[in-house]
Symmetry: C2
Subunit: 353 residues, 2 copies
């Protein structure tokens, strides 16, 4: 189908209204419902081949486009999926979104992404998405104990979580194995000879923050190290600035750690800032490990050793879970946990002896 043979936008003059199935019906001398059938792949078999062809031709000539709002009103399904994103400018999120959209588009759904930063409360945004008739919701923003979760459980619109989970595990989710990621990081540092390893934790009301912290503590204990030699400072947000603050606090401790594992890459970059501010160098004085492997951390100085999480796959999985929920709303809760991978670069080295 070439583009030239339909007049999509132009050609009808700037003011002509969009053609409807009625217009096509009139020109073909058939009833609108016949046009509807001919133009619907699923119902096309119910109409005579020659008639269907004539209708199709006329539709193309007119540049006809199905009105999804009308269809949605009639069928009760909009083909829209709402996505609540933490902050679209956060470099960590786009890959997830990309995996999500790709999967959803393939099934005929369009995604409408709302940045939580710019709007009102999370619940209001969810409500406005519901008002738009979304067939499902993907939340990438929930806190461990979050009102939206309570409101979403058993709701008529299916909801899945991505990148984060709720404390009670009441909603289906696709997330990375945070504990495994921290184990990878800690084991790597221990193998290098580090014995005093600090942690810049993420916000504790967010599952990644809490679980990575817990994973850190468990790994330290399992390595036979004392938790007393594993100081933790929690950052107030997943930002470079908050990482710097927490990093500074960690470096100010009496027994300065020889390595720091951060709950994510942004925090790790903040730790770089703290190191610079303290006149220390990485990895000579302090080794640093991040989490997520966001774009370009291989280019910073020094290139960041980090735990790579499967972001695109996480998005694709969330899409799959949501689609399953839409088809059978009462299916059991599935929590998909994706395995991370340690990417060793130049920010980690043996401690000074």
């Amino acid at each position: 189908m070439r583009h030239g043979d339909r007049r999509s936008l132009t050609g009808r003059g700037a003011t002509a209204p969009r053609p409807t199935i009625k217009d096509i019906a009139a020109r073909c001398g058939v009833h609108p419902s016949t046009v509807s059938r001919a133009l619907s792949p699923a119902m096309k078999h119910l109409v005579a081949a020659d008639v269907a062809e004539r209708i199709q031709a006329e539709a193309n000539a007119l540049g006809y486009r199905l009105n999804m709002a009308a269809k949605g009103l009639r069928t009760g399904r909009s083909g829209l999926i709402g996505v609540l994103a933490p902050d679209i400018a956060d470099p960590g999120f786009p890959p997830v979104l990309s995996g999500l959209a790709e999967h959803l588009n393939a099934e005929g759904y369009a995604t409408i992404v709302v940045d939580v930063g710019t709007g009102g409360s999370q619940q209001d945004l969810v409500d406005s998405l519901i008002a738009r008739g979304v067939d499902g919701l993907v939340l990438a923003t929930v806190r461990l104990h979050d009102d939206v979760v309570a409101h979403s459980v058993g709701a008529s619109t299916p909801v899945v979580l991505v990148n984060r989970v709720d404390a009670a595990g009441e909603l289906p989710s696709a997330a990375s194995d945070d504990a495994a990621g921290m184990r990878l990081a800690v084991d790597h540092l221990v193998a290098l000879g580090h014995r005093r390893i600090g942690h810049v934790a993420g916000p504790q009301e967010i599952s990644t923050g809490a679980r990575r912290r817990a994973g850190f503590e468990a790994s330290i204990a399992d390595s036979g190290l004392s938790l007393g030699d594993a100081p933790i400072e929690a950052a107030t947000a997943y930002t470079r600035a908050a990482g710097r603050e927490a990093g500074l606090r960690l470096l100010g401790r009496k027994a300065r750690p020889t390595a720091i594992v951060a709950a994510n890459d942004l925090l790790a970059l903040g730790v770089y800032d703290a190191l610079a501010a303290s006149g220390l160098t990485c990895p000579a004085d302090v080794s640093v490990v991040g989490h997520n492997d966001m774009p370009f951390v291989d280019l910073v100085s020094p290139p960041l050793t980090t735990v790579r999480i499967a972001q695109r796959e996480m998005g694709a999985t969330a899409a799959r879970l949501l689609l399953a929920r839409i088809r059978s709303p009462d299916a059991a809760n599935e929590h998909v946990v994706l395995q991370p991978e340690l990417i060793i670069r130049a920010s980690t080295a043996r401690p000074r002896s």
Copy 2:
């Protein structure tokens, strides 16, 4: 308005259908149209205060949400804006999107973003957005000579361009002043003493690629340098890999340039790769300048000197242009050009004497 006092999602049981104005009307003993009026801020003044209040209360109690599809079908306006993005994972785009969405949300519009990478042809995506009834379109993907532009001119759905322009300037646009940006870059290098300055150009079918190249040539000429000493290699795409290839070609020239200005930051990072592969160091052997100032280029090694473009403002401007177009479709074409700024970091230095 607290969240507790409405039951939005839960509380009606998982299977109950969403309440409609009819339900509210029945419970309040009024006609549906009265409910419609009471719930519409613009029409509320037409209904008695006490009745309006009762209706509002009942709506809250029921967790009623306006059905936008139905409203849109009736009014012909969906409150949806379609955005065609080049690649959501490209770190340059999110700030634009963020500025766009913020502005649009404030006016009650939701944005539906489609990644051109994952779908079919650009025109098909536009058509599907039109089928969804979008009130306007923002294209961040057009090439200089692009069919979509021809199809969009005089179309019934307003279209604006962001970050890019079409060759004939037929559509309203918000973009950075590419020529001014290149002048900033070239002047800076000339002031440092460079006399052989190369350019890694972007794809020439894209306005930024073509205009930055033209701006580069003009600046070189105006600086009194010979174009013979200003070799240019065009990259095939705005990617780090393409930048590396083009950079390698530039560095392979007989008279190697002492400085390279890249058409964007991703290409500049590719030039870093090319330098590393050639055993050269930046800025000692070759200075590098990027364009866009995308997130974290201040952290790469060496921190990148680059031309900062006003991305959020670009998005906000595009939103403004689109809203203006929606209100008066026949307004004159406006091309807003935003001024860039040179951010000097450590990738540029005096040439070796």
